[in-house]
């Protein structure tokens, strides 16, 4: 840090430091904070509160009866299943990719990083379309799949593929910076002492990346449970069969069953709240985002 700070500043480096110069007008921060909160309220807060108010507008009774409908229960079960399958797959991939990228220096590293990020920038509908073009009736593997009586499109396997696709990069993305920061000195020390690869991973690497990994898992889970676009393209959206919770919300809304839609939406919104709370806790723990 520099020593020669202007004398009218407290050198604490706190947020209020900037408010002290004489030219600062006292109303400026208030107006800016007001505008920021008003914008967030219009775009985010009011719609978010609306979900809860609409769901309970007629009391808890109708809300609960909506939640016991077979179509809803099946959708909730499917959503859970989708997350349960795509989470471990993407964790294994994410860890491997993170290890491969963070532990090796090679030309074109930036390109590989961008490739891993690709599923984020591809529109979910396009992702679904690609899966249809591969596994659909007229797709590359279509004839072979039909000959063996395997159904992927308009069935559960297709939904798994779509979910795994859109939630692919989260783990790798969160783990790579942690691995890089941690460095490989300890791993190499362990190797010199005769530890096997597997032992090094369990006893040294995993403990050091656990918070980053958990962070990636939370994000993967949120995306897997909430994905709508890609899943709706490949699933065909058949109630009681290939309808996940986000699809149920849209379907109920389209059929003017707004209350049922909002009842399911509340559950997904709660999932979002849990995700945000866990994220915040992890961010404080790991200082991924240094607030102060």
């Amino acid at each position: 840090m520099t020593v020669d700070k202007p004398s009218f500043h407290s050198s604490s480096g706190s947020d209020t430091e900037i408010a002290k110069p004489k030219e600062q007008k006292s109303w400026v921060p208030i107006v800016l904070i007001g505008v920021a909160i008003a914008y967030l309220a219009l775009v985010q807060y009011i719609p978010a509160i609306n979900v809860f108010v609409q769901a309970f507008s007629k009391g808890v009774g109708p809300f609960l009866s909506n939640l016991t409908r077979p179509a809803f229960l099946h959708a909730a079960w499917l959503t859970l299943l989708l997350a349960l399958i795509s989470l471990p797959i993407n964790t294994v991939f994410g860890l491997c990719a993170a290890w491969a990228i963070a532990r090796h220096k090679f030309p074109g590293r930036a390109v590989v990083l961008s490739i891993i990020d690709l599923p984020f920038s591809i529109s979910p509908v396009v992702a679904g379309l690609m899966i249809v073009l591969l596994y659909g009736r007229n797709g590359w593997f279509g004839p072979w799949l039909q000959a063996h009586d395997i159904k992927i499109i308009f069935a559960f396997p297709g939904m798994v593929l779509a979910t795994a696709f859109v939630s692919m990069p989260f783990v790798a993305r969160e783990v790579i910076p942690v691995l890089e920061e941690f460095g490989k000195d300890q791993e190499e020390a362990a190797r010199t002492l005769g530890a096997k690869d597997w032992q090094i991973f369990w006893r040294i690497t995993l403990p050091s990346i656990r918070w980053g990994l958990l962070y990636g898992l939370i994000l993967t889970n949120a995306r897997a449970m909430g994905e709508f676009g890609a899943v709706s393209v490949v699933s065909g959206n058949i109630a009681d069969q290939t309808q996940s919770l986000p699809l149920f919300v849209e379907d109920a809304y389209k059929q003017y069953e707004t209350e049922a839609a909002f009842s399911a939406a509340v559950l997904l919104a709660l999932l979002a709240v849990v995700t945000l709370v866990l994220k915040e806790l992890l961010e404080r723990k790991t200082r991924i985002k240094d607030v102060e």
Partner: protein, 286 residues
Amino acid sequence: MTTVSPSVEVERKTPFWKRLGRVPWTWRITIAYLTVMLFIPIAAMFLKASTEPPARFWAIATSDIALATYNVTFFTAIFAALLNGIFGTLIAWVLVRYDFPLKRLIDATVDLPFALPTSVAGLTLATVYSDNGWIGSLLAPLGIKVSFTRTGVAVAMIFISLPFIVRTVQPVLQEMEHEIEEAAWCLGASQWQTFWKVILPPLFPTILTGVALGFSRAVGEYGSTVIISSNTPFQDLIAPVLIFQRLEQYDYSGATVIGIVLLSISLVLLLAINFLQAWARRYDSR
């Protein structure tokens, strides 16, 4: 820093083709998974598109209805991203520089659109901004219809792209040195001059990166926009919905052609974002 370990030294001396033979299994899993999940699907799409004669490809890609959806998708997304560029920077600024009650809570909830499933976002935005909704009922007397119009599509795009801008600008703003601003003040610059001439220029590439990220997300967005829009062609039909409709009609080539257009644009945007990030870093090291 640390010295180069012997194993790395050896690895560098072995020729590339010899190293290729003993690729670690982590690499093999990564490459295999990427191939199955990403490369083959993308290849399938480009190959499917290449079976169309160029003239027909062009005709589908630039048909009236397709052009109308690009118009709605891209101009609305640019509008949403730019608006968020202004307000997102303002929100990041407020969160970094000022202290006020509930700041922590507000900071945490900026990420809400990342966590909230898009169909829920579409559902609640459509309700809030409908003619008898909480905000829509206030706008209706003014003759402003939001839900089931292009304005509604813009609202949904603003919702989902806002955190990209805030979260891109926030860390850079945090690391910016106060000293430069203080120097400007000491030299007699007004607050406004300090902002325009000292703070904004180094921040500009970062803001642009955030805007590009938000734009890229808004262009591809499906869940929330399909619910809040009436999906009427030539009015508020967006490109992803057109792809979906083509697929429903089993018009695979039609869907593929528009899909290729969207995919190419996201690839170009990805390049642009990488370039912008490199530009922002160059500013950083100066």
